[in-house]
């Protein structure tokens, strides 16, 4: 439904920019969350403890534009040898190095693995939030990202349930809708977004979407070769339900494990059919009402 920003428009428009979040190297430091809050002057959320591992942010919302998920599983991470004695291993450092990554636990023993993933607005090619916004507050930038204009938003709240990823939300005290801008202000100055800048492991990679997709494909192939068959890309395909995510992910388990929808579809895909059904219903109503006045007088 929405216009797609061309990857490289003529006339010097910038290419479509995005994020590739490689969760396989995320260490859960939350530097991205902090940097985002600092740069964008986002109010603090409620500071309660949730009991959900190290996650007290809970999810994306009006005042959480990056959210680091922590998942504890009884399952070995590929390449991790559960029985390894780190002190022993450290003692042997400098000696003859073992070749490549150690094998997955051979006896199938299960251990804990800890998945961490920094979630963010997907900057969808077909963005539900943008499609339904009645004021034109949400718009697509020259970088192909989706941004709220806070001086236009009247807080109608329609974008909130229209997002199939549960990203955008209304700030109760302020009344307007807020979400990740992919640091539109920084991009304009040629700087990378604050979260990507702060990420110490390059789990968050920022760049032209085409380039990120190539990099991501190579990374998945490497992880598969290293014996991590769980590695998969999420949201990178332009054939998905939102025409491809401008911010996509490398995950180590099913998307729903991280709180992501397994097969999201932008609601407006069905909008032409919805208008048709509503039109038919309107005609039925008009005909039915007219029929009530036919016949006998009383």
């Amino acid at each position: 439904m929405t216009d797609t920003a061309p990857s490289q428009a003529p006339g010097g428009a910038p290419p479509r920019m995005g994020f590739f979040t490689d969760t396989s190297v995320c260490i859960g430091c939350k530097a991205c969350e902090v940097a985002c809050k600092e740069w964008n002057a986002i109010p603090a959320g409620d500071a309660g403890l949730t009991g959900m591992s190290y996650d007290n942010t809970k999810g994306l919302g009006a005042s959480a534009w990056r959210h680091v998920a922590f998942v504890e599983q009884r399952k070995p991470l590929g390449g991790q040898e559960p029985g390894v004695d780190v002190f022993d291993a450290a003692g042997r450092l400098g000696g003859p190095a073992a070749d490549g990554l150690p094998p997955v636990s051979p006896d199938g023993r299960t251990e804990l693995r800890w998945l961490m993933s920094s979630d963010v607005c997907k900057h969808c090619t077909e963005a539900g939030c943008l499609d339904v916004c009645p004021t034109g507050s949400l718009f697509r930038t020259e970088f192909g990202t989706v941004v709220v204009q806070e001086d236009i938003c009247n807080g109608c709240g329609y974008c909130v349930p229209a997002c199939p990823y549960g990203v955008i939300d209304q700030r109760p005290d302020d009344g307007r809708a807020w979400k990740c801008t992919l640091c539109y202000d920084r991009l304009g100055e040629g700087m990378e977004p604050a979260c990507a800048k702060a990420c110490p492991t390059e789990s968050i990679q920022f760049g032209p979407l085409d380039e990120l997709r190539e990099r991501a494909a190579a990374r998945v192939a490497r992880l598969h070769a290293a014996g991590i068959p769980d590695a998969r890309l999420y949201g990178e395909s332009p054939d998905n339900g939102v025409g491809g995510d401008g911010a996509f992910f490398l995950l180590l388990d099913e998307p729903e494990v991280y709180g992501l929808p397994p097969d999201p579809v932008v609601p407006t895909r069905d909008l032409p059919a919805m208008w048709r059904h509503a039109g038919a219903a309107a005609l039925a109503l008009a005909a039915g009402a007219a029929a009530c006045f036919l016949g006998r007088r009383p």
């Binding site: 996650d55 399952k75 539900g128 938003c153 219903a281 039915g288 006045f293």
Partner: protein, 354 residues
């Protein structure tokens, strides 16, 4: 995190309920009593308790951000919009067929309902002073934008129709406004179904085929009820018929809708939404029946029937509203249908059929 540790012997000191249960296990925990809530109505549709489908989730948290709309404002708006649209149709018919005592209250009801509904919409905005931003753009991909323009056209016509009807002045203008309002009225009544359906909220989106018919019926039933309540029995024949037509349309469409929606029909039958929708069904059916029988002779019976129809319509809108919110709050209604869609797609890969 001090309670549980990974040791060489495995996991120590786990605290059930505090660790991320992942994989399929996460969906296994019953999040609420699945068999409760449907004591009554043990008729045909009741299914035997089945093993709840398994799915993964992130600590059972919702995938979607739930609607931020106030039920009173937005469900109230859905009801009032339907009442206004239906009343304009009734008013135009009564006007054209020489039933002034029915036309006058119907026109007044249309104006009152559309004014109140607009007030509810503005009240629900996070920034009410920016309500005029609604007409900043004309955007067919946004049902709310289309609805704003529709109301901007319909509201003044309904107002003109009501004022000329009550004062008896400017008859030509009044007749034109009455007809104009009736032309837009069916759209006013049904577009609100698109407004709800064009969201990722499972129980709203999956309802998009039948919901406009249900809302059309609900609006007609409410307007018919109002006509019976406010118009004299002698002139309210069309109101009684409109109520019967609307009630049948609403009840039929809701049944068909629930049958086709599968899993995401559940929220329509549970909790607050379920209670509201059962009340709506009873009120609408009994109101229409009473109106078509005793309501033809007795003014008192007509008033009771009309009130029941109005309440039934309102309860229906609040029920649909709450069902949607409940479906967004539970990840199973997001994850399970999407998993099923993925499974079917991998089983029969056919890229060019939707």
């Amino acid at each position: 995190m001090s309670e549980s540790d990974v040791t060489r012997q495995g996991l120590r000191g786990t605290r059930p309920g505090h660790q991320a249960v992942t994989g399929e296990a996460a969906g296994r925990a019953p999040r609420h009593a699945r068999r409760g809530g449907r004591r009554k109505g043990r008729r045909g549709g009741e299914q035997p308790p089945v093993e709840p489908a398994r799915f993964s989730s992130y600590y059972g948290r919702p995938v979607l951000n739930k609607p931020v709309w106030e039920a009173r404002d937005i469900a109230g708006y859905l009801f009032l919009g339907g009442l206004a649209g239906g009343s304009s149709l009734l008013a135009a018919g009564a006007h054209a067929t020489g039933r002034p005592a029915l036309a006058r209250p119907a026109k007044a009801a249309a104006l009152g309902a559309v004014s109140l509904s607009t007030a509810a919409l503005v009240h629900d905005l996070g920034r009410p002073e920016r309500f005029a931003h609604m007409l900043r753009v004309f955007k067919p991909t946004s049902p709310m934008s289309m609805g704003s323009w529709l109301l901007a056209g319909y509201g003044p016509l309904a107002g003109l129709a009501a004022v000329t009807g009550l004062t008896g002045r400017f008859r030509r203008t009044g007749a034109a406004a009455t007809a104009g309002a009736a032309v837009l009225a069916p759209a006013v009544t049904t577009y609100t179904a698109v407004l709800l359906a064009d969201t990722a909220v499972p129980s709203w989106h999956q309802a998009y085929r039948e919901l406009p018919l249900a809302f059309a019926g609900s609006g007609a039933a409410a307007a018919g009820g109002l006509g019976m309540l406010a118009g004299p029995v002698a002139q309210a024949g069309p109101a009684r018929r409109l109520a019967a037509f609307g009630a049948a349309l609403e009840l039929g469409a809701m049944e068909a809708m629930k049958r086709r929606m599968g899993l995401v029909a559940e929220p329509l039958e549970r909790g607050r939404a379920g209670r509201l929708l059962r009340a709506s069904k009873a009120l609408t059916a009994s109101g229409a029946a009473l109106g078509a029988t005793a309501g033809r002779r007795s003014r008192a019976a007509a008033a009771v029937a009309g009130t029941a129809l109005l309440l039934g319509s309102a309860a229906g809108r609040f029920g649909v509203f709450h069902a949607g919110v409940a479906s967004a709050e539970d990840p199973r209604y997001t994850v399970l249908p999407q998993r099923e869609r993925l499974r079917r797609r991998t089983a029969h890969p056919s890229p060019d059929t939707p």
